[in-house]
C-alpha cells in the first residue's frame, strides 16, 4: 500500500431530486492505492449512493470527486474513469449482458475497441483471475449466484482497472457464494494490488478490510481499522450494525465479572485468550 491517492471525495453533497433531502451530507474521504476499504452502514445510510460517485454514475450536487487526478465531472474523461474504476452491483442477474460467459467478459473490451487478439488474451486472463475459466462456454443462467457474480467481476477486471468498487456484491449470495467472491476479491487486492472499495452490511467481510468507514445519515461517522471500529460496539449497535460474536462474547464475559480484554474481534484471538484464561486463570498473556 502506498500513500498515492486513488479516490478522493471533497465534502460532497448529493440529493436525487432538487428539493429532496440530501442522501449525502458533506462526505470527505480518501482511498489510497492498494487499500481494501469496507464501507459499512444500515440500509438508507447513503453507502450505495457514495459508491456510485466513484465512477461518475452519479455526480455530486456539491463538492468534488477525484479518481487519481481526474475530476469525475469532466465529461471528456468519462471512459478513462470508468475503465480505471470498475463497478460490481448487487444483483448478479442484472449486470450480465451476453448469453455466454466469455462473451460477457469481453463486453467492456469490445466497447473500448480493443483488437481481437489482445482481447482474447485479456478475457482469458480475467476469467482465470476470477476463477471462472472452466465455465467460459456456459450460459450465465446455468451458473450459481457466486459464479455469476465472479463473471461480473471478470467482466470488470478485463478492463484492467486500478480500483474495484463492490456495491453490496455479496448481499444476494449464499455463504458459499459469498466466500467465493471474497476469496477472489482478496486475491485481486493482495496479489495484484487492485484497490478495493467494498460496500457491505456483513461485518465479517468488513473485518477483513484494511480500513472500515461507517456511514450513517449520509455522513461518515467512523473511520479506522476493523479493530478500532468494532471495539466501539455500543456505538455500532446504536447505528443498527452488528459486531463480531467474538467481541460480543468478550463483553458478556466482562459483564459477568471476568477480567478479559475487549479489543478482540476474531475467533482465533478469542479462542487463544480463553485458552490462556482456562489454563492460567488470567486472560492476558
Amino acid at each position: 500500500m502506498s500513500d498515492e491517492k486513488m479516490l478522493k471525495t471533497e465534502n460532497i453533497t448529493f440529493a436525487y431530486e432538487e428539493d429532496a433531502a440530501p442522501v449525502l451530507r458533506g462526505v470527505s474521504c480518501e482511498v489510497r492505492r492498494g487499500e481494501l476499504v469496507a464501507v459499512l452502514g444500515a440500509n438508507g445510510c447513503g453507502k450505495s449512493t457514495l459508491a456510485k460517485h466513484f465512477n461518475a454514475i452519479l455526480l455530486p450536487t456539491e463538492g468534488k470527486v477525484w479518481v487519481e487526478d481526474m475530476d469525475t465531472a469532466d465529461e471528456n474523461k468519462l471512459l478513462d474513469i470508468r475503465q480505471k474504476v470498475g463497478m460490481v452491483f448487487q444483483n448478479p442477474d442484472n449486470q450480465i449482458v451476453a448469453t455466454v460467459v466469455e462473451e460477457d467478459v469481453a463486453f467492456a473490451l469490445e466497447n473500448l475497441g480493443v483488437p481481437p487478439q489482445e482481447m482474447r488474451l485479456r478475457v482469458d486472463e480475467a476469467m482465470e483471475l476470477a476463477g471462472i475459466y472452466k465455465h467460459r462456454a456456459k450460459g450465465p443462467h446455468k451458473l450459481s449466484g457466486g459464479q455469476k457474480q465472479r463473471v461480473a467481476i471478470a467482466g470488470v477486471i478485463a478492463m484492467r482497472p486500478d480500483c474495484l468498487v463492490l456495491d453490496e456484491a455479496t448481499a444476494m449470495l449464499d455463504p458459499r457464494g459469498r466466500a467465493q467472491v471474497m476469496k477472489t476479491v482478496r486475491h485481486l487486492n493482495r496479489d495484484f494490488g487492485i484497490t478495493v472499495v467494498m460496500i457491505t452490511h456483513y461485518m465479517e467481510e468488513a473485518a477483513e478490510a484494511d480500513r472500515v468507514l461507517v456511514m450513517s445519515g449520509g455522513e461518515i461517522v467512523m473511520n479506522g481499522t476493523p479493530k478500532e471500529v468494532f471495539v466501539r460496539s455500543e456505538e455500532m449497535k446504536s447505528l443498527r450494525l452488528d459486531v463480531p460474536q467474538a467481541q460480543e462474547l468478550c463483553l458478556a464475559l466482562r459483564e459477568a465479572g471476568l477480567d478479559v480484554p475487549t479489543d478482540i474481534i476474531s475467533t482465533e484471538d478469542c479462542a487463544a485468550m480463553l485458552a490462556r484464561l482456562l489454563q492460567t486463570g488470567r486472560a492476558d498473556g
Binding site: 470508468r82 444483483n91 449482458v97 469490445e110 478492463m159
Partner: protein, 267 residues
C-alpha cells in the same frame, strides 16, 4: 413446464455442421427453405428429408430431440395433411359422405407433411448447432451493409442479444411469482378465459415491475463497462471463411441442385 421448450435451444458440439461459418449456415438454411418450395415431387421431398436427417447425424444431434420439438406442432401437421387429403382436386378413389379422397389428395398430403417436417428440421438444425449469440452476430454482420442506409443494425443486434440473455431469467422469475401467488391461494388454472386473464394480473404486474428494474440496473452496468453504442466497437470472435466452409458450401449447393432437378422427375 415452461422450461421444457426445445425450439430455439442450442446443443453445443464440435461437428462440421457446428463449425460452419454462421453467416454461411444462415444463408444455406434460407436457400434450403426456398428450395423446399421449389420441389413438388414426393421423391424430391423424401430426398430433402434425407438430406436434413443426414445433417442431424453429422451434427450428432439425437433424432429424439427433433421428434420432441415436433410434438407440439403435430396438430398443425395433421390439420394440413387432412386439408390436402380431402380438398385436393382430382379423381376420387374413396368417398365417405361428402368427403372425397383422390390419388392427388394422398400425393399432396404426403408432400405437404414432408415439407413441413423438412422446414422444422432445417430451421431447428440452425438453432441447435449455432449459439444464439453467434447467430445474432451473423445477422448483424450480414445486415451491416444496410447501416449505410441509417438502419440501426448494431442496436437491433444488441437488443436481440439482451432479449436472448434475459429469456431464461424471466421464465424463471415468472415461475417464482406464479408459485408465490399460488401460495396465497391464486387460482391460475381454472375458470373461463376472462377469469383466467384476470387471475394473471397478480403475476404480470410484479413481472413488469421487475423487468423495468432489471432494465434500469442493466443499463447502469453497461455504462459502467464503457458501453457507448456501436461506434468504434470491436468483436472478440472474428468470423473467417475457411477452406472447409467452402467445401461444405459446394457440397450443399450440389445437393440443392439435385433437389431442384427432381422437379423434372415424373413422380
Amino acid at each position: 413446464m415452461l422450461r421444457d421448450i426445445t425450439i430455439g435451444q442450442h446443443f453445443p458440439g464440435d461437428s462440421p455442421v457446428h463449425r460452419l461459418d454462421p453467416r454461411i449456415k444462415l444463408l444455406l438454411t434460407l436457400a434450403y427453405i426456398i428450395v423446399l418450395f421449389a420441389v413438388h415431387n414426393i421423391s424430391g421431398m423424401v430426398l430433402a428429408f434425407a438430406v436434413v436427417l443426414g445433417l442431424y447425424l453429422a451434427a450428432k444431434i439425437p433424432l429424439k430431440v427433433l421428434a420432441r420439438s415436433m410434438r407440439p406442432l403435430l396438430p398443425i401437421i395433421l390439420f394440413t395433411a387432412v386439408l390436402n387429403l380431402f380438398f385436393a382436386a382430382g379423381e376420387p378413389i374413396v368417398q365417405i359422405w361428402i368427403f372425397k379422397i383422390s390419388k392427388e389428395g394422398i400425393y399432396y398430403a404426403i408432400t405437404m407433411v414432408l415439407r413441413i417436417l423438412c422446414l422444422i428440421a432445417g430451421s431447428s438444425l440452425l438453432t441447435y448447432t449455432t449459439s444464439p449469440i453467434v447467430l445474432t452476430d451473423a445477422v448483424e454482420r450480414l445486415l451491416r451493409p444496410l447501416a449505410v442506409l441509417h438502419l440501426p443494425v448494431h442496436e437491433l443486434a444488441m437488443m436481440m442479444t439482451i432479449a436472448l440473455r434475459f429469456i431464461p431469467t424471466l421464465i424463471e422469475e415468472t415461475e417464482k411469482i406464479m408459485n408465490a401467488q399460488k401460495a396465497r391461494g391464486a387460482d391460475l388454472d381454472s375458470g373461463n378465459l376472462m377469469q383466467r386473464v384476470k387471475a394473471l394480473i397478480p403475476v404480470l404486474i410484479p413481472l413488469f415491475i421487475s423487468s423495468f428494474r432489471r432494465a434500469d440496473e442493466l443499463a447502469m452496468a453497461m455504462e459502467c463497462r464503457c458501453y457507448h453504442g456501436g461506434d468504434g466497437r470491436t468483436r472478440m470472435k472474428q468470423l473467417h471463411v475457411t477452406g472447409q466452409d467452402v467445401v461444405s458450401t459446394l457440397i450443399f449447393c450440389f445437393a440443392m441442385a439435385v433437389l431442384v432437378a427432381t422437379r423434372w422427375l415424373p413422380f
